[in-house]
């Protein structure tokens, strides 16, 4: 009975989303106040309905209701309760339910937290969000219903969650990632509402900014978590493969990063408005495109092509309506926008625009690299692959000007910067960052490659630039110790964001250039040493857990004779799906990871063992965390919570 109720509330949510779109818009265009006010109510009701569905599906997972097809396919009674709960989003249908649930959550947040906005504007924004939700509800209900039953003959037990997903990563990674994807819908809705109103102004930018930043923050953490999860869970030691599915998450991130910078300019200086609104449309459109790419199977990946292309066609149709419609609206409405601000070539506006151009160029690299194989085959030129070597090369080129600008961009003034005034700071930054790079490489680099030198230099260039800028700002009017406390949240947000990028660049550079990967044959009692480390293969033992059995290789690791760690690498066999899994042993460190994965046992009783030394790999994920922290600081800026805002700000200024 419960699943039917869940299904029913889902249908209810779908209808409420439709009402949330139509009625408030009717109100806006006829001036009917009650209809305008109804937007908030419908949003709340829609949220309650879908939350109910979500809870019911989760509960059905908890009580092992295998009469539900989706649960029978993705769960098992031997699964620990926390994996049973996270299995809700362990496959297509349930993850879509999570998607619509999060969309409703963002909508209700907008409805409840926009008291200071003019009510018509909120009604427009909520109407757009309702329309998006309606499309996704239809998709779930028509093509991917998680509540479908297997009645009358249902299995005694489920086929289990894929062992790869039985991990802490599954619990947090998808919700974070989806919060990001779906969160861009708010920026999208704000943009559409502003276009509909024909009023694109600084107020619009100001209102969108915290929402966009919040979504971007979740997406940043989500992608980093995914990368980290893949690294430790998959026995592969890599952290990014430029696969279409990864690219699908990276593209909205690039657009979103450009957007948060462009919004800052639009808010503070009232320029780039039509560019900013295009980015706001793009960020969410790319989230939708990602959903399409991942779920339709048009691209070559481990996904077998869906024999039933209904799902793909449905999302594509939805995409054409939503993205196509919004871009048409954009072409007509943005043409009316006039830029009023003035700025010189040497100004912060220009620097930010140049960085925007570079970010979008990077986005084009990823977009073309992901989709071109499809086009290539279709126009009869044959199948091609575009992967790591291509993307790495392009990004290595693009990161150079990008990082150079990031390092000194915040030194530029708005409107006009006398270049002569920059000579001294630039020289200082250049000298200090060169010194730091040399010192760093002397300590940590066993040999030099020009890529390593360039990468670490770019990283330290940004760090020194950021620190120097903080120093200059703090000592501008006060003593340093007093001045540093006067810096606003937004300023710290920017600094942390840029520091995060620098940390990540250094991490990537060190990992890519100085990793050591050894696939070796080792028997119990033998040892291997490199980079000052000795790995001694102590023993092999058995292990039995709740839903798998494992063979464990035990290693003692020493550095220059001193004990470092005992590492236990497992080869697991999950009992239900009879699936073997490599569970790598990792000894984490701030400046290096040691990584051991067990391969096959060889005919002579020795083992094939993979041992990695990965310098500074933690920095690759520390960087995004710093960036996200910066985002958090900005959202907490008092500017976005002050109540003294005059009413009707969103529509006050005519663009």
């Amino acid at each position: 009975m419960l699943p039917e109720i869940g299904q029913f509330t889902l249908i209810l949510a779908c209808l409420l989303a439709l009402l949330q779109t139509i009625y408030p818009l009717y109100g806006v265009y006829t001036g009917h106040q009650g209809a305008i006010r109804s937007a908030k109510m419908f949003t709340i009701l829609q949220f309650v309905a879908v939350a109910f569905s979500f809870v019911i599906l989760s509960y059905s997972f908890l009580i092992n209701d295998f009469s539900v097809d989706y649960i029978a396919t993705n769960s098992n009674s031997a699964l620990p309760w926390y994996y049973r709960l996270s299995a809700v989003w362990g496959a297509h249908e349930g993850s879509l339910l999570l998607w619509v649930f999060l969309l409703a959550s963002w909508s209700i947040a907008v409805a409840l937290m926009s008291k200071r906005l003019p009510i018509e504007s909120v009604a427009r924004v909520l109407a757009v969000l309702g329309l998006l939700a309606f499309g996704f509800y239809l998709f779930v209900l028509l093509t991917s219903n998680p509540f479908d039953r297997t009645l009358p003959y249902f299995p005694i037990d489920g086929r289990d969650l894929n062992p790869l997903l039985q991990d802490f990563g599954l619990i947090i990674h998808p919700p974070m990632l989806y919060m990001g994807y779906v969160g861009f819908s708010v920026a999208f809705a704000f943009a559409i509402a502003a276009l509909l109103e024909g009023r694109l102004d600084s107020a619009w930018a100001k209102w969108s900014r915290p929402w966009t930043m919040a979504a971007w923050m979740f997406l940043t953490v989500g992608i980093a978590l995914g990368s980290w999860w893949a690294y430790y869970e998959l026995g592969w030691g890599g952290w990014w493969f430029w696969d279409p599915v990864e690219n699908a998450s990276f593209m909205p991130w690039l657009a979103g990063t450009a957007l948060i910078h462009s919004l800052a300019v639009s808010e503070k200086r009232g320029v780039f408005k039509s560019w900013t609104v295009l980015l706001a449309l793009s960020a969410f459109s790319l989230s939708l495109l990602g959903t399409f790419l991942v779920r339709s199977g048009v691209l070559v990946s481990v996904h077998a092509f869906a024999s039933d292309p209904t799902r793909g066609l449905f999302i594509l149709g939805f995409l054409v309506l939503v993205i196509g419609g919004s871009l048409l609206l954009y072409a007509v409405q943005a043409a009316k926008v006039k830029s009023r601000g003035r700025y010189e070539l040497a100004s912060r506006e220009s620097v930010l625009l140049i960085n925007n151009i570079l970010l979008i160029a990077a986005l084009i690299v990823v977009l073309l690299g992901t989709l071109l194989p499809l086009v290539h085959k279709e126009i009869g030129l044959g199948s091609i692959s575009i992967g790591e070597p291509f993307f790495n090369r392009m990004f290595t080129i693009l990161i150079v000007p990008f990082a150079l600008f990031v390092g000194v961009g915040s030194l530029f003034r708005w409107k006009r910067q006398q270049l002569n005034d920059l000579k001294k700071p630039l020289a200082m930054i250049l000298i200090i960052s060169t010194l730091v790079t040399v010192l760093f490489l002397l300590v940590f680099a066993p040999f030099l490659t020009w890529l390593a030198v360039m990468g670490t230099f770019l990283g330290f260039w940004i760090i020194v630039g950021v620190v120097y800028e903080i120093y200059l700002r703090s000592t501008h009017r006060h003593s340093f110790s007093k001045g540093i406390t006067k810096l606003g949240n937004s300023h710290w947000a920017m600094s942390f964001g840029h520091l995060g990028l620098a940390v990540m660049i250094i991490g990537i550079t060190m990992t890519q250039n100085y990793s050591i990967e050894k696939d070796v044959k080792l028997a119990v009692g033998e040892q291997i040493s490199f980079e000052h480390y000795e790995f001694h293969f102590d023993q092999v033992k058995g292990l039995k857990a709740q839903n798998y059995t494992a063979t464990v290789g035990v290693f003692t690791v020493k550095k220059d004779g001193d004990f470092v760690a005992v590492m236990q690498a497992e080869k697991r066999l999950y009992t239900v799906q009879r699936m073997p899994m490599t569970e790598a042993a990792i000894d984490e460190g701030f400046t290096r990871d040691l990584y051991i994965a067990m391969g096959e046992v060889l005919p002579d009783g020795a083992w094939a063992v993979r041992i990695y030394y990965k310098p500074f790999i933690r920095w690759i994920w520390l960087g995004p965390l710093l960036m996200a922290f910066g985002g958090l600081l900005m959202i907490c800026d008092r500017r976005y919570r002050s109540k003294k805002e005059p009413a009707g700000v969103l529509g006050d200024e005519h663009a």
Partner: protein
């Protein structure tokens, strides 16, 4: 059945985001090859990361545990041991499996846009920026007739106001 193994970020995401029809397993592909020198070893590792396993769709042959990936690793190892260069090995594989097998696409009338696209965008973007700034400069120095009249009127009014 050829086993398909998959253990990168992709598989995790895919498993999450859709139904996976292949049996997926998370076993590391570990071989214990021995090489004559460090250069050979380096070439071999570069090649196994550059070459794509045609069967398992999106994994390089270094990471895949599929039967075919093992065959291709062995073949790559043989060719490298024979002293063949990186290009020669890639050509050998492309002759048999087509351009699909290399992750670094060759230049074709279509792939040229992979490089041209971003480049053209950057040039276009910078041109727009320069044009914009030029336009603003001309605006700040030259007022049109209407604005001139307005300015004159304002000035006269100001003069009057201050004199009265």
């Amino acid at each position: 059945m050829i086993k398909v193994s998959k253990f990168n970020l992709l598989s995790v995401l895919l498993l999450l985001l859709g139904s996976v029809l292949f049996s997926t397993n998370g076993q590391a592909a570990i071989d214990t090859f021995e090489f004559d020198n460090a250069q050979q070893e380096k070439t071999f590792h570069e090649l196994t990361k550059l070459l794509r396993c045609p069967k398992c769709q999106n994994q390089n042959i270094a990471d895949s545990n599929a039967e075919l990936a093992k065959d291709l690793r062995n073949k790559t190892y043989d060719l490298v041991k024979q002293g063949q260069s990186k290009e020669q090995v890639v050509d050998y594989m492309v002759a048999r499996f087509g351009n699909f097998v290399r992750y670094d696409p060759p230049v074709t009338p279509a792939t040229i846009f992979l490089w041209l696209g971003p480049l053209l965008f950057i040039i276009f973007g910078l041109l727009v920026l320069f044009k914009q700034i030029k336009k603003q400069r001309s605006k700040t120095t030259h007022l049109d007739d209407q604005e001139q009249q307005k300015l004159q009127a304002l000035l006269q009014k100001h003069v009057k106001d201050t004199h009265s």
